[in-house]
């Protein structure tokens, strides 16, 4: 289990969390390379399909991260994302997905330190959960 390196697909909004990731980089903060970042303009555009496809293709975790409440560049995209994540958690739970594999966080553009902390924490959590069974078993 200890040498298991999870793959975590991350959808970061351009305005807050992606900028925080940039800040973490320019501040020379390190965070696990398990996080595979997809930059999107807003977490409100993360279609449930992106999350489902990630899991079916064998992602061990999916992280969606955007702006803090009230800070959304498009006013309320992050609130819409929250409802979609709520929906996905309800659906995936029936099929034995641990809810910890799908996460939504809000990290502001200036929170480089917090960003690196959360990435480390998420990676540690997924490591302890072990691999997603979709990666191991043939799924249709």
């Amino acid at each position: 289990m200890n040498d298991f390196e999870p793959t975590i697909v991350a959808f970061f909004c351009n305005w807050c969390t992606y900028t925080a990731a940039d800040l973490a980089g320019t501040s020379r903060l390190s965070y696990p390379s398990n996080i595979k970042i997809v930059r999107v303009m807003c977490t409100g555009m993360v279609d449930p399909k992106y999350v489902i496809k990630s899991f079916l293709e064998g992602a061990d975790g999916v992280l969606i991260s955007g702006c803090n409440p009230g800070d959304c560049h498009y006013i309320n995209g992050n609130f819409k994302a929250r409802r979609r994540i709520k929906l996905l958690k309800e659906i995936l739970a029936q099929f034995g997905f641990q809810p910890e594999r799908l996460r939504l966080t809000w990290i502001g553009a200036s929170d480089g330190i917090r960003f690196a902390e959360i990435m480390r924490e998420m990676t540690a959590q997924i490591k302890s959960l072990g691999p997603n069974e979709g990666r191991l078993k043939m799924v249709i």
Binding site: P48, K49, I52, K53, L56, P69, N76, F79, K80, R82, R83, R84, I85, K86, L87, L88, K89, E90, I91, L92, A93, Q94, F95, G96, F97, R103, L104, T105, W106, I118, E121, M122, Q125, E133, G134, K137, M138, V139, I140
Partner: protein, 379 residues
């Protein structure tokens, strides 16, 4: 206050009384047409049919256990724009609930529509119904409704209600403008007709029916029926959840799926005008299939079977009304209704929403509040 009236039967002929009632409605000047379950002249199969000639109502069969399609889709087509005529639609409760969902998605309008809903006696699966109905559809329907209404049950001649109907805890037409009551009513003598909206009251007031009271036994009969249905439903949920509690089992559950997408076509609340799964998003490059196959040594074709079903659940589960047309439409007899309903029950509970309950409740994914679902956010 609900306005309650009754229609008296002649010679214990329930179908005749309903046809007479529909004729009286259609003969009103302000009503242009009536949509009813209707026996096709060329074959004893029952389909939703739009009728303007009252004589044609002699073939109306609103108590038949045939339920070939969910009428909500058809009513959506009839009402999506102004038609310069008022239409009355005779619908089952699950059809009304599905239509309510479509109206909220702006795929139907209630402005020129009066919905008459009947207490639902349930339906057979399509294959069962077509096999069972025989040459004398009138006698078949009579046999069916008498069995159900006298309490001896719908199981007959080796067929029974579909599992969707056995698990249906909402058999009354609560969303109708005019609701016809059968359970707990002395249906040898009369049937109950109740106006549930001002629109319904307006129309019913013009028909000159005798006012009456809801019979005392009705509430009790309904409670008993609903309790049986909920027990069946919960057992069905438990079995389905146990059969799909990990992805491998879900794969097994859906292994016979051939990606025909019939469940999506038959679904009254699958609302996309064009399904993403038939767009070029899923016209994968030939080389892509080879890469997929290479990764695990094998890839089943067509691909994206689980992806399709999970995405569909994300789209329609909060609007699922449990009509069971998905199972009806499946060529390989997958237990789809069981799967979709058990997930829908979860997702609707998660949002405190019930599909088709009210026109005033917004679909969960079309609104949000600032402070909600704190458990979803954070590590």
């Amino acid at each position: 206050m609900v306005k309650t009236t009754q229609v008296d039967l002649k010679d214990q002929d329930l179908l005749g009384a309903l046809r007479g009632f529909f004729k009286a409605v259609l003969e009103r000047e302000e009503i242009s047409a009536i949509l009813v379950p209707w026996r096709l002249p060329m074959k004893n199969t029952v389909m939703p049919t739009l009728i303007t000639d009252p004589q044609q109502l002699d073939r109306a069969d609103p108590l038949s256990p045939g339920f070939a399609i969910n009428t909500a889709r058809v009513v959506s087509r009839l009402t999506r724009r102004a038609s310069a005529g008022k239409v009355v639609a005779v619908m089952r409760p699950c059809e009304i609930r599905a239509f309510v969902e479509l109206v909220k998605l702006r795929q139907g309008r209630t402005e020129e529509l009066v919905i008459i809903g009947l207490d639902c006696l349930g339906a057979f699966g399509n294959r069962d119904y077509f096999r069972w109905v025989g040459d004398d559809a009138e006698a078949s329907t009579q046999k069916f409704y008498r069995a159900v209404l006298t309490g001896s049950g719908a199981a007959m001649d080796g067929v029974d209600l579909s599992r969707a109907c056995k698990a249906c805890e909402l058999p009354t037409a609560d969303g109708a403008d005019i609701a016809v009551g059968l359970y707990g009513v002395d249906t040898a003598q009369h049937l109950l007709v109740q106006a549930r909206t001002p629109e319904g009251e307006n129309l019913l007031g013009k028909l000159g029916l005798v006012e009456t009271q809801e019979p005392p036994g009705r509430m009790k009969a309904l409670e008993k029926l609903v309790a049986e249905r909920i027990a069946f439903r919960d057992e069905m949920f438990n079995q389905t959840r146990a059969a799909t509690d990990n992805m491998e089992k879900l794969g097994t559950y859906l292994a016979n799926c051939v990606n025909c997408y019939n469940c999506r076509v038959a679904c009254p609340v699958c609302y996309c005008r064009e399904c993403v799964f038939v767009t070029d998003v899923f016209d994968h490059e030939p080389a892509q299939y080879l890469r997929w196959a290479e990764r695990k040594g094998a890839v089943k074709l067509p691909t994206d079977t689980l992806f399709y079903h999970l995405t569909r659940l994300a789209h329609m589960s909060t609007a699922c009304v449990g009509c069971g047309q998905c199972s009806n439409a499946c060529p390989n007899d997958l237990s789809l209704m069981e799967l979709f309903r058990s997930v829908a029950h979860r997702t609707q509970a998660g949002f405190g929403y019930a599909a088709g309950r009210s026109l005033d409740e917004k679909p969960p994914l079309s609104e949000f509040r600032e402070n909600e679902f704190p458990e979803v956010v954070g590590i």
